[in-house]
Amino acid sequence: MSTDVQTDTALFELALRMGDNTLILGQQVSAWCGHAPILEEDIALANTALDLIGQTKLWLALAGEIEGKGRSADDLAFLRDARAFRNVLLVEQPNGDFGQTLMRQYLFDAWHLPMLTALKNSIETRVADIAEKSAKEAAYHLERSEDLIIRLGDGSDESHTRMQNALDALWPFAGELTQPDAIDDELAQRGLAPDLADIKTRHEERMRAALKEATLQVPEAAIRKGGKQGMHSEGLGYLLSDMQWLQRAYPGAEW
């Protein structure tokens, strides 16, 4: 690797974090193909996964560009080990039942849309461009997942219980999305990304309103975090071993 490259670390991390979130969530959602509760959901989930993978291509390609070491989006997706991934813990939580998959999606979407909307104002045009393209998809995802969690939360006793369980399990992971670290602070200062405190307000307001309409109780719980800094849960390794299998087993091959 060349040593004369000056990587803009914060910007690189931003692209990785955005791209790893969509990659890991897309990977998880894609596992539902053919196994959803109704055919319309098979289609909707495939569509969501497709959008997320499409966004991943943009973010990780940008990350590779910023890094300047010649790594492609595929290199970054398929040839990093778990500790180098920068996705939040939320998106790597297991699919669980369909309710957990939906709740995970919702907590993510409710952050993703305001985040992308704000990133449209990034002074880095490459970031703003990707945000512009992705925000439309994110808006659609949010509309869909919000509608479903409201209908299922305020549905039958069983669907309510399942959605409440999903919320209890996943809520602790929602906070990481808007909890800034030094990199987030630098990004905000440089006008590359928004102040996460603003996103947090919008994220929480939106979620709390929808969850209330869904008749769901927001639990009290400590925030669980670490993913943005590469401290993941044990599940990520297994996810990667499937996802990266072919690239690892046939090094250097083209597909």
Binding site: L23, Q27, S30, A31, C33, G34, H35, A36, P37, I38, L39, E40, E41, D42, I43, A46, N47, A49, L50, I53, G54, T56, K57, L60, A73, D74, A77, F78, D97, F98, G99, R151, L152, D154, G155, S156, E158, S159, H160, R162, D242, M243, W245, L246, Q247, Y250, G252, A253, E254, W255
Partner: protein, 312 residues
Amino acid sequence: MAPEERAFQEKIDADIKIEPKEWMPEGYRKTLIRQISQHAHSEIVGQLPEGNWITRAPTLDRKAILLAKVQDEAGHGLYLYCAAETLGISRDQMTEQLLSGKAKYSSIFNYPTLTWADIGAIGWLVDGAAIMNQVPIQRCSFGPYSRAMIRVCKEESFHQRQGYDIMMKLVKGTDAQKEMAQDALNRWWHPALMMFGPPDAESVHSAQSMAWKIKMNTNDELRQKFVDETVPQADYLGLKVPDPDLKWNEERGHYDFGEIDWNEFYEVLKGNGPCNAERMAARQKAWNDGAWFRDGLMAHAKKREARKMAAE
């Protein structure tokens, strides 16, 4: 022949489409329901073998393409179910028939996808054979089925090209990749030939279905056409079709090919294929695990309705 039946047949002979509300013989309706729902079920179950490689697709592009393809299949299932519903059967009834084993789906989906090359081979051979079967059905006599088929065929031919593209990449790749491609062809070739159904001599209902223009060609005709189109594609890939008896017959203007092991076909049909149990189990699990979701949405709709009533 009763007058209405005569009128019906005359329309068909004149290539006028039959629409759902119009009179039709019970046999026509039943045959179509069976055929369309079986086709829809095939799209649904067909998600599984390919879905098996979505999480392991080797690049982001391949993952996206495969996702889009599997999504298309679910979409095809959806509009085929809609076409069948116009004949007076509900989607739930059809689902029940699939899950109870009463309704069939294409046997090809009872074979496993063991390597990435199988994703290529399915696109190339299985979608290829499907198109061969489906193109004529675009002209079939039942309006909704014909129109569904027009949409399906457009997407399928796209899928076939993508499958062939995967194969092309593999044969141009490393030795291991080439071997993977050949191995996939070896395993999928005969199952693909079987997709056209048993030999004409053993095929039941064919004459009536052809008169009704539900079926437009015989199984053997389509099979021959498939072989004739596909062998040169295999040649171009540098792959060997696994049939020692395969050779060009100048006189017939067609490829001759070896005997097909129809025993295997009937065994898979009976449920003894390599994945019949797994495919049914996967669909049953999806359906059963999803019951609370469907019930929950229903309960919400009722609540909303009740609230609306109370507010009025």
